[in-house]
Amino acid sequence: MSSVRVLVGTKKGAFILTADGKRQKWQVDGPLFGGWEMYHLKGSPVDPNRIYASQTSGWFGQIIQRSSDGGKTWEQPGTPAGEPTTTPEGMPKGESNKFVYDTSAETGKPLTTHQFYDGTQKPWVFKRVWHLEPSLTDSDTVYAGVEDAALFKTTDGGQSWHEQAGLRAIQGEKWGPGAGGMGLHTILLDPTNPQRIYIAISAAGAFRTDDGGKSWKVITKGLKSQYMPDPTAEIGFCVHNMAMNPKRPNVLFMQLHWDVMRSDNGGDLWHEVSGNLPTDFGFPIQVHAHEPDTVYVVPIKSDSEHYPPEGKLRVYRSRSGGNEWEALTKGLPQSDCYVNILRDAMAVDKLDSCGIYFGTTGGQVYCSPDSGDNWQSIVRDLPPVLSVEVQTLA
């Protein structure tokens, strides 16, 4: 019988939630890496037992963890317990947390600077990994979206990471941090075209490569944001999240800072589909696993008030690819609820009756086993939830 494994990253550790295909009775395991900020955990589509995790700390920096047994045991890639800690040449291992930006081959100096809040230019400084996206075809290949915004890649299971520096060549000097930092938070891999990758950055915008990461183009045409000094600017959009259905990878959905957007041509042009949403501000956006026109968002009151309008926690579902939205409330608190749902804290499983999951800054993780009609809390009192991913297991 099928089962699901939900990977939850929180501000104070990671948790693994498991259930059979009915998704009614849950086992909660954790905390793993207790006390650390677990920005993101995600399993390999090729080998579900292979899970990667981003473990961070304001004190100790970035750690990459990897499991090869579905989360039972973990290791820092390159330094498994009991193995020699140096290479045969005597060089120390332990490069798995080393994220170093490319520099100019000619001068050795930084490739570019970025814009800071005060309008001055600052060099890129690595802070943490926001998002890990394992390859669709190789369990040792993973992309990492990091702050300050850049895309890194490993092809050796996380032992070493290398920047895909072509991205920062795209008007990098105009990129600036959002209120939460300048993070690359969304990575979408096109299952029909291994050369095509979409990424999004707050607050730079959205980008696409069609050659596996060597070169990139801006894909922000059609986006509009209040207070942008140059209304025709390509760079400077605070994209919060993007999603696609793998069966229709040219159609993208985006939660912009304000506005829910849709593109039918791989991001070349966007149009707004906020429709009748009570507010079009929010963070996560997801697409149903089997219905490419069924989309989910969680409206948040405003960019100044990060909680649901009227204290009612409502997921909104569109079955028409946007514009027409219905509130999903059964099992969700409809009074006095003032949590937020962060951009990476929503996921869908692949079971026939597609399950929808999200975690809140109040520590609840909710599941709907029936595409959003009914909700239950899996667990209610975790630390603030940073990320939720789900694995559908045979």
Binding site: G58, W59, Q76, T85, K98
Partner: protein, 98 residues
Amino acid sequence: MVRVVIPFHLRTLARVQGEVQLEVEGPVTVRAILDALEARFPMLRGTIRDHVTLDRRPFLRFFACEQDFSNEPSEVLLPEGVATGAEPFLIVGALAGG
């Protein structure tokens, strides 16, 4: 033999309990201790000082014999008590954050 006390979370990463004891070759300095510590526990590389610049991470401090060496050059000789193992070298996380 030099004794080193590392913060709880780094002990977890390194899978050790209590103090760490290290053989340090040559003069006992902050840099020599950290080199020896990272050679024995490579998983700690990057957690105490930056991979490339080797700068101390901002929220960590270094103490030896009740003296703060956090802002001293990393080549400064540490007190005899640390060099002989009579006193531990302390790597301390700042009391900051949530």
